[in-house]
């Protein structure tokens, strides 16, 4: 035990010596949370639109005013000629052009109908969809206002209620997502690299011939990372709680326990990666490619899993982050207890077992 303690101390010294890595380690979750909180958003604010008004009468000007005075749009330029349209889109900073037909007001009074065209740069289909629905909404409102009489008709009053997240805040998505991503990468990447490093430098043999058992060597190597990752997790929860009002409705102890379980799972994954890679570069590439993008995209962090094609839904079942995200959303937002999440907990436990088993099978004490 004393030997083991000495070994852990050595590992800590190794880690603390590298101040730059430590800074990054703790700067990363903070930076990511802040970016998600303030920068990455799908809302539309002040989109730049161009107006091509062939009629230029009172009504078209009123509609333009309505659009521009909303928070969604700002007026960028007037277009005078049809040939300018394509050019405007190609420049790239204007995503929507409104075209009013000739004699708009006249047609509206005489023929009861006049048309307005919305041209959208749909390279980003999502944004085009949103812009279109906002614009149509505003124009329809205006159109309803100018109708002379509003006859009675049966009206179904739709009363939506947003459960758990009344204001549709993004924080409920990105705090769990960030935790899953950062904890996974930090632990799996750090452990796999620090173990392969010893292998690559040849110091692993020195450790293996020491009186420490190989299991102690591995445990000693990963222990400091459990500690660091856990600290990281707590930082993210605190940031979410104090800066972005992310609630912790369920039991904090349960939340921390599950976090610890996830960290240990990531560690065993890291150990497994280190047993199959021969160089730090390889360990890094495996952690990077096998973990970064899939954890971001297949875990339900940014894109909902239910909407993906079935092979991907199937694939997402082997992404550990998916279960962890379900777990912490349940605990933090819905405030449910173990009763609702025992399945996910079991999956994480099983994954830990599998990775440890595989690592033991692959672990070589001797030189090739």
């Amino acid at each position: 035990m004393k030997r083991f303690r000495g070994f852990v101390k050595k590992e800590f010294i190794h880690i603390f010596r590298d101040v730059r890595t430590l800074l990054i380690l703790f700067g990363m979750p903070v930076a990511q949370i802040l970016i998600f909180g303030y920068v990455v958003t799908n809302e539309i604010k002040e989109a730049r639109i161009a107006i091509y008004d062939k009629s230029n009468d009172q009504i078209t000007r009123e509609i333009t005013d309505k659009l521009v005075s909303s928070d969604y749009f700002i007026f960028a330029k007037n277009i005078q000629d049809h040939s300018e349209i394509e050019n405007t889109f190609e420049k790239g900073d204007i995503k929507e052009i409104i075209v009013f037909e000739q004699n708009f007001a006249e047609k509206l009074t005489n023929e009861k109908s006049a048309s307005v065209q919305i041209l959208l740069d749909a390279t980003d289909a999502n944004m085009a969809n949103l812009l279109q629905s906002y614009t149509s909404g505003i124009i329809q409102d205006y159109s309803r206002d100018i109708r002379i009489s509003n006859q009675e008709m049966p009206q179904m009053e739709i009363k939506p209620r947003m459960l758990f997240n009344n204001e549709l805040k993004g924080v409920y998505m990105f705090v769990p997502g960030t935790m899953a991503l950062i904890l996974m990468l930090v632990t799996a990447m750090m452990t796999s690299i620090s173990i392969t490093r010893e292998k690559e430098m040849g110091t692993m043999e020195v450790l293996l011939v020491s009186p420490l058992k190989s299991i102690q060597v591995i445990a000693g190597k990963v222990f400091p990372y459990v500690f660091l990752a856990f600290l990281n997790g707590v930082t993210i929860i605190a940031l979410g709680y104090f800066v972005f009002d992310m609630p912790v409705n369920g039991s904090l102890i349960l939340l921390l326990t599950e976090t610890l379980l996830y960290i240990i799972m990531a560690l065993s994954l890291g150990i497994f990666i280190s047993t199959i890679s021969t160089s730090q570069q390889m360990a890094m590439f495996i952690s990077m490619f096998a973990l970064l993008l899939p954890t971001m995209l297949l875990s339900g962090f940014i894109f909902p899993v239910e909407n993906m094609p079935w092979p991907l839904q199937w694939l997402s079942t082997i992404i550990p982050a998916k279960y962890y995200i379900i777990l912490i959303k349940n605990i933090m937002i819905k405030g449910t207890g173990l009763l609702y999440i025992w399945k996910e907990t079991l999956v994480l436990l099983a994954m830990t077992g599998i990775f440890i088993g595989l690592s033991i099978k692959n672990f070589k004490i001797r030189l090739e």
Partner: protein, 372 residues
């Protein structure tokens, strides 16, 4: 010139020697491209709806039928038990509860007004907004039908209406994939080139082989060129192959000029490679350089506008993006491929990156010392 050729030869031998590494460099990105482009979708399908119809009149039943007939919805249960529905939402088995109250038809006929309640699981705010919009559209459509059915004369006659026509340019089918393919391609090319260069010199440092190179008569610039070129070639190859796959499998349109795109890619890669080399030169271990690189990558990727438009970002973020090379390439690759923008449209980005390339390469050369 000959010296450079030899360094190049050495670097390529080193890269090609590791079969597993090579496989990873070539195969991984494409597997990712194929998988992840399919994953990145905001389309809503299979909304699980729990129906609590307390009225059970023909009007309410027809409304429920509308939801059943829609391809977006999947009715998981009918019951009178609202709490059971809420429980289903807690368990993530339902996304939405539709509640129709008693006397719904009666109220609608006699008082011209009746309530419908939608309870939506809103943990994912984006999805909840869409579910609300879809569901409201179905209910309003149905409402309009009912109104016309119930009254003898058409209600809308004699009213002025503004007719709205819209057209989606460049992507009339609203295919999100053709937007994501160039984005993911940029990320894959960046990861490969940045990490390979960043780890390269540190690795030689850690192994001690850098000393051996330092005592040779190689000039600084020859050494740097020898280190950069192989990765530039690999990255360009990946870009080309990725574009080919994107064209073949996802039918990504290539409207613009390909030489222009590759020319721009070369400038962009010079920035990235210079940046990687700089980090490599100032770091002490592979672990360190990896974490520093990883940090910048993550920040740059998230701010580049790959998932969310840069236009919705706050001003300060757009200012930060001035030093974010990924943001430039992300914008330009989409402009050239999807809209066919020409050289004059991307002039600003082109010159900015050119300046940037000089700075990052200059820094790398300046910080690299042959003596330790």
């Amino acid at each position: 010139m000959k010296t450079i050729a030899f360094i190049l030869q050495k670097e390529f031998i080193q890269i090609l020697r590791h079969r597993t590494m090579l496989a990873m460099i070539i195969v991984m990105p494409f597997v990712q491209l194929l998988i992840l482009v399919n994953a990145a979708t905001f389309d809503m399908k299979n909304i699980d709806i729990y129906v609590v119809d307390r009225d059970l009149s023909s009007t309410s039943r027809q409304l429920v039928n509308k939801f059943e007939a829609s391809p977006f919805y999947n009715v998981i249960a009918h019951s009178f038990n609202l709490n059971d529905g809420k429980d289903k939402i807690l368990k993530d088995e339902a996304d939405l509860i539709l509640q129709i109250p008693h006397h719904f038809e009666h109220d609608l006929k006699n008082e011209n007004e009746a309530d419908i309640q939608l309870l939506i699981n809103a943990i994912n705010g984006n999805a909840a907004g869409l579910i609300n919009a879809y569901s409201s559209r179905i209910i309003s459509d149905y409402n309009r039908n009912i109104a016309v059915q119930w009254s003898s004369q058409p209600q809308m006659a004699g009213k002025q209406t503004v007719e709205i026509i819209y057209s989606f340019w460049y992507n009339p089918e609203m295919n999100y994939k053709i937007y994501m393919v160039p984005g993911i391609l940029v990320i894959l090319v960046t990861i490969i080139s940045l990490f390979l260069t960043a780890m390269n010199i540190v690795r030689e440092k850690e192994m001690g082989t850098i000393e051996q190179i330092n005592v040779t008569p190689i000039k600084k610039y020859q050494f740097i060129i020898g280190k950069l070129l192989p990765f530039l070639i690999i990255a360009l190859f990946e870009l080309a192959f990725g574009l080919f796959l994107g064209r073949l499998i996802f039918h990504v349109p290539i409207v613009g000029n390909l030489p222009l795109l590759f020319g721009f890619a070369v400038i962009y890669l010079l920035v990235i490679l210079g940046f990687g080399l700089f980090l490599s030169v100032i770091s002490e271990s592979q672990q360190q350089v990896m974490f520093v690189t990883f940090f910048f990558m993550l920040v740059f990727i998230l701010m580049s506008g790959i998932f969310t438009p840069t236009e919705s970002m706050p001003d300060w973020a757009n200012k930060v993006n001035i030093i974010n090379p990924i943001a430039y390439f992300m914008r330009v690759i989409r402009m050239i491929l999807l809209k066919g923008s020409g050289f004059s449209d991307i002039l600003t980005e082109f010159y900015s990156l050119l300046v940037y390339a000089f700075i990052s390469l200059g820094l790398a050369v300046w910080r690299y010392r042959k003596t330790t």
